[in-house]
Amino acid sequence: MDFAFMRDAFLTLIGGVPLTLNLAFMAVGLGAILAMLLALMRMSGLKVLDWPAQAYVFVFRGTPLLVQIFLIYYGLGQFRPTLQEWGLWVFFREPYWCAVFALTLNTAAYASEIIRGGLQSVPYNQVEAARACGMSGILLFRRVIFPIAVRQALPAYGSEIILMVKATSLASIITMMEVTGLAAKLISQTFRAVEVFIVAGLIYLILNFIITRIIMAIEWWLSPHLRRPPAVEPRLEAAHV
């Protein structure tokens, strides 16, 4: 294995990291809003809201992301005149926005189930206790339901973020030059597939390792009640595991 070449490859591919992260975080951010909406629709108890949300989740979880990306990018190209009429073409013209759109729709389907699980895990007696103290509506949601739900949902949401970072690699197929796209380009120039892919894999591993650590830190910060008081626990480093 040629380490000098791999170092050069690493330096080239690292240039794709901003776009990879940009795509992942745009999708996760926008997807979270849509997911929240879907989760509320599912929990509304109204069939007119619940059904479309269920269908949405079924369709987007039941088909490969690559199919969704192709359908949005190449498929919608077939309807350019209509989209232009509606003024949406500015948006679908750009591969970047098509990628963000596809990733957002996809992650929203998965995330809505995670959020729903989190909201449903809030113990009813806690809500009752809050009601007894006179909390209701937004205050109840903000102070009691939301924090507990977030704490419950965070580990699963963390995995979803990792999955999204991995999923951005598919954007390379619609001309986006993120890490995988740059890797494919580098291979076309050097014809050394294995080395380049190993380096690309390494970059994703590092990214995901960092993100996992950040999520673990947030989890730790959100659950002070699960931590043992430091005075009782002499082995301080164990608290970080």
Binding site: G75, L170, T180, A200, G201
Partner: protein, 240 residues
């Protein structure tokens, strides 16, 4: 050339892609099943390594799951496709073979899916194993069952029972992953749709058809897994 209607396009007539798409869907199912089974073998071994292995085996197994879950599946497939074949070629020429050890795209694809899904299935099996009550294992030991018999009679049936929901999820994952195999040239559902879309310039029609076929496969297999789950839990119902 006049514009064909949608049904002519995906139908079974002379200009239709119907048979091609159905064959490709069959290929998708075949490669997904083979990949899933390969993943079960890998997953069992890795789970076993994680539970019963010594420090070295355990860290190897942990490393495997961490790496496989941390890098994009597309990269794993590419890597496997180029690297695996080159490695096999090297082993072959070592034994004096003429170098050409053709690994069909199907086999590479199924193995790549197996390697990826093995990482997920390992976690499913490990979780299920931990639910099997210690008491039953101790009881099995006390009546003098040796390892293999105990695995076959006590552990495997129960692990499988608890693992079914998790395996169902992994299967969905595998099914969707099989779409990525299209990059290696295997003519499965997505690649066939891609070819058809390029050749007819009707991308929307074909990708939509592909999506519907994927949904159909998902839907049927979800039903089958649910049936399997009720079947395996039939002895448990009275208790709850």
């Amino acid at each position: 050339m006049q514009q064909l209607s949608y049904f002519e396009l995906v139908g079974f007539g002379p200009n239709g892609w119907g048979w091609a798409l159905l064959t490709a869907a069959g290929m998708t199912i075949a490669v997904a099943i083979c990949g899933f089974l390969a993943g079960s073998v890998v997953g069992t071994l890795v789970a076993w390594g994680k539970i019963g292995g010594n420090l070295v085996i355990r860290s190897l197994a942990d490393g495997y799951t961490t790496v496989l879950r941390g890098i994009p599946d597309l990269l794993v497939i590419y890597l496997f496709y180029f690297g695996g074949s080159a490695a096999l070629g090297a082993i072959g020429s070592l034994f004096g073979a003429d170098g050409f050890i053709g690994v069909p795209a199907f086999v590479t694809g199924a193995l790549a899916i197996g390697i990826i899904s093995g990482a997920y299935q390992a976690e499913v099996f490990r979780g299920a194993y931990q639910v099997v009550s210690r008491g039953e294992i101790e009881a099995a030991r006390s009546v003098g069952m040796h390892r293999w018999l105990m695995f076959r009679r006590i552990i495997a049936p129960q692990v499988l029972r608890y693992a079914i929901p998790g395996l169902g999820n992994t299967w969905q994952l595998v099914l969707k992953e099989s779409a990525l195999i299209s990059v290696t040239g295997l003519v499965e559902l997505l690649r066939q749709s891609h070819i058809a879309a390029g050749s007819t310039r009707r991308p929307f029609d074909f990708y939509l058809t592909a999506a519907v076929l994927y949904l159909l496969i998902t839907w049927v297999s979800t039903y089958l897994f649910q049936r399997a789950e009720t079947h395996s839990m039939r002895g448990m119902r009275r208790a709850s």
